[in-house]
């Protein structure tokens, strides 16, 4: 198997020879000598070199394309790609579309959408590559057409000032060489900073340049004759552009180093914050657990509380606003859990800002959780569902269960705190023995929100 044809980072001109040598398994010297020999054969080697330079990606670019094609979060894409032909990890994929040789035969057949999706992303990156290459090809083509036109013009008897054009060509070549030393991301970085990405940006940039040139033009056209101005203007432009392009790599390098340092500092701050958090909470709890190792209940309670706290810190849904209904229910559950040592799992669907009605609902939920923790034991499930028009809370335990009719009339907990409280606030509470524990269902209606969805 041949090594992939890429231009490596250590290079003399553009890395074409060493890339070709690695690909064909020959020594670099052989390739270089044959290039020179071919060049002597009326410039064929030069043409081949230029051609390969344009078409062969650098090693960096190839690696980046490979990495960009895989995104662990792009599940559908990866899934579909794997239907196209399984590939063990670690072996880089060929850049083109893969033949579906190893695929289970039924998959592509019964899942045409997946195969189509697989072609999608690769197709898109290929187009981007082609466009990028196309840009170079157009530039080179335009240069060749210009040169050809100039040559024909001279043949036709016009006077082409070769002594002006050849130095300019040399400057442009030098600038291109300097530019090629930058990799793609740095080039994009420069374009970004110049605001030259996207059609609007390019138009703005070109318009700005045209205005500057026109300004200079008007400025000097008064004092210098037209004959002298054109060559002077051109020479100035060429020198400026040349200097800019040659210096660009160093400026960019300096800038990247600065940015690397800054992001390093940000990471360091982040790490310090995590360390502080772990110290404040986790280490303290671990110390406490060691102290209380004799009491199983205390250890469980501490571990559970710490888990809850760490979970909240790590996985908190950043979009959710604090102090809303779900937050409050979770806080109450945490409180009961700490007080009684029974795990309470809260599952919430939907959320809403607090109102007076919700305060009552939270009080009732607390009462229900407390009853479950006190009398039933074992794990307690709480489910909150907020939809348009109603809010429902289910508190379920796995205890022996009880019948409301059997609760003595002087015991106010259930009747007063649950049922009447909910009724006063326009809701209701139902208590049900499921045969395997008790379930309290608290519901509120919000007719003003409309009862349809």
């Amino acid at each position: 198997m041949y090594a992939p044809l890429v231009r490596p980072a250590d290079r003399i001109i553009a890395g074409v020879c060493s890339g070709l040598a690695a690909h064909l398994g020959l020594s670099v010297k052989v390739i270089r000598i044959s290039m020179v020999v071919l060049t002597l054969a009326s410039g064929a080697g030069l043409l081949l070199y230029a051609w390969l330079w344009l078409l062969v990606p650098t090693a960096d670019e190839a690696a980046r394309a490979e990495n960009a094609a895989f995104n662990p979060r792009n599940i559908a894409g990866n899934f579909a790609r794997n239907f196209g032909g399984p590939r063990p990890a670690g072996i880089p994929a060929p850049p083109g579309p893969q033949p579906g040789t190893g695929a289970p035969p039924q998959r592509p057949a019964d899942n045409p959408a997946a195969t189509a999706a697989a072609a999608g992303p690769t197709g898109r990156t290929r187009t981007a590559e082609l466009m990028q290459r196309g840009g170079w090809e157009i530039a080179v083509g335009a240069a060749l057409v210009l040169a050809g036109g100039a040559f024909i013009a001279q043949l036709a008897g016009f006077n082409v000032p070769w002594e002006t054009w050849l130095p300019m060509l040399a400057i442009v070549t030098g600038a291109v060489l300097a530019w090629m030393q930058l990799d793609n991301s740095r080039r994009n970085g420069i374009m970004d900073r110049a605001g030259a990405t996207g059609a609007q940006g390019v138009v703005r940039l070109i318009a700005g340049l045209v205005f500057v040139v026109a300004g200079i033009f008007i400025l000097i056209s008064g004092s210098i004759s037209w004959d002298v101005m054109w060559p002077t203007l051109l020479a100035t432009l060429a020198v400026l552009a040349g200097v800019g392009l040659v210096l660009a790599p160093w400026v960019v390098k300096y800038w990247t180093d600065l940015e690397a340092e800054r992001s390093g500092r940000i990471r360091e701050t982040e790490r310090a914050e995590i360390a502080a958090h772990l110290h404040d909470s986790v280490l303290q709890t671990l110390a406490l657990i060691q102290n209380r190792a004799a009491s199983e209940q205390d250890v469980t309670r501490l571990a559970r509380a710490q888990e809850r706290e760490l979970r909240e810190w790590l996985y908190r849904d950043k979009r959710r606003e604090e102090g809303n209904l779900v937050d409050r229910i979770k806080a109450v559950a945490a409180e009961i859990e700490d007080a009684y040592g029974q795990p309470i799992d809260v599952v919430a669907v939907g959320d809403a800002p607090m109102t007076e009605q919700y305060e009552a609902l939270i009080h009732a939920t607390r009462e229900a959780m407390q009853n479950a923790a006190k009398h039933a034991g074992g794990s307690i499930s709480v489910y909150l569902e907020k939809t348009r028009g109603s809010t429902d809370v289910f508190v379920r335990d796995r205890g022996p269960g009880f019948e409301l009719a059997n609760v003595p009339a002087d015991r106010l907990g259930v009747r007063e705190s649950l049922i009447r409280r909910m009724q006063r606030h326009g809701g209701e509470a139902r208590i049900r023995n499921t045969g395997n524990g008790t379930e309290v269902h608290l519901s509120l209606k919000h007719p003003e929100e409309g009862n349809h969805s």
Partner: protein, 216 residues
């Protein structure tokens, strides 16, 4: 009693692996273990287990964790089932690995018996839903969207909604069956249908829900 179910345990914590092995009951035979993405893909291809108990966060590979293992074993999905296992219950982790092809999600706080039940269920081709996963489904698909046709991918049918709600409320499959006066097999069918919808749906709301949480 039938042969024990052969499984592979993939988790980067050796202590957890040995603890889990001790907790699983006799219906389950741990054939092999793996600790990284590459190791897992190699071991699964070699052992061809019925079920893989898969941690969501794994070192190695390209940083894709459990979802990457499922993607790397996509050629085995017809014979090998994946059951995700994690300490994390964030929506991102759960939905990512389910959309990659896992047939269930259990958290590490589950007891050995509960995890064994989930393994048996997944080995039988059904889906293992925890209350939290059911909550995510209801959150993502909406609690009122009712499919007019049962196999419509973007909406849940009324029955599927009922089943999801009961599971979110902490009911076991058996309790759901009793509650709705249907057989456990029917409950499993509904849950599998919901799993399929969760994996394949490209419903606008689901996509937006996922994008909001940077899942897809």
């Amino acid at each position: 009693m039938t042969d024990p179910i052969r499984i592979v345990v993939v988790d980067d914590h050796a202590i957890f692996r040995s603890g889990l092995k001790a907790d699983l009951d006799s219906r389950i035979d741990v054939a092999a273990e793996a600790a990284t993405v590459e190791e897992a893909i190699a071991v699964i291809h070699e052992v061809r287990p019925a079920v893989v108990l898969l941690d969501v966060h794994l070192p190695g590979g390209r940083g894709g964790g459990g979802a990457e293992v499922v993607a790397g074993c996509a050629d085995l999905l017809a014979t090998t089932r994946f059951l995700a296992l994690s300490v994390s219950d964030s929506a991102e982790d759960v939905v990512t690995v389910i959309r990659a092809g896992a047939r269930g999600y259990v958290t590490k706080t589950f007891s050995g018996a509960e995890i064994s039940d989930a393994v048996v269920r997944v080995a039988g081709g059904d889906a293992a839903f925890s209350p939290r996963l059911a909550g995510f489904v209801l959150d993502a698909f909406g609690t009122a969207a009712v499919a007019s046709v049962d196999d419509e991918l973007d909406k849940l049918s009324a029955r599927e909604l009922e089943v999801m709600r009961l599971i979110a409320r902490g009911y076991s499959y058996k309790e759901v069956a009793k509650e709705l006066f249907i057989s456990i097999k029917t409950v499993e069918t509904h849950v599998s249908a919901v799993l399929r919808k969760l994996q394949l749906s490209s419903r606008h709301e689901l996509t937006r829900w996922a994008v909001d949480r940077r899942i897809l």
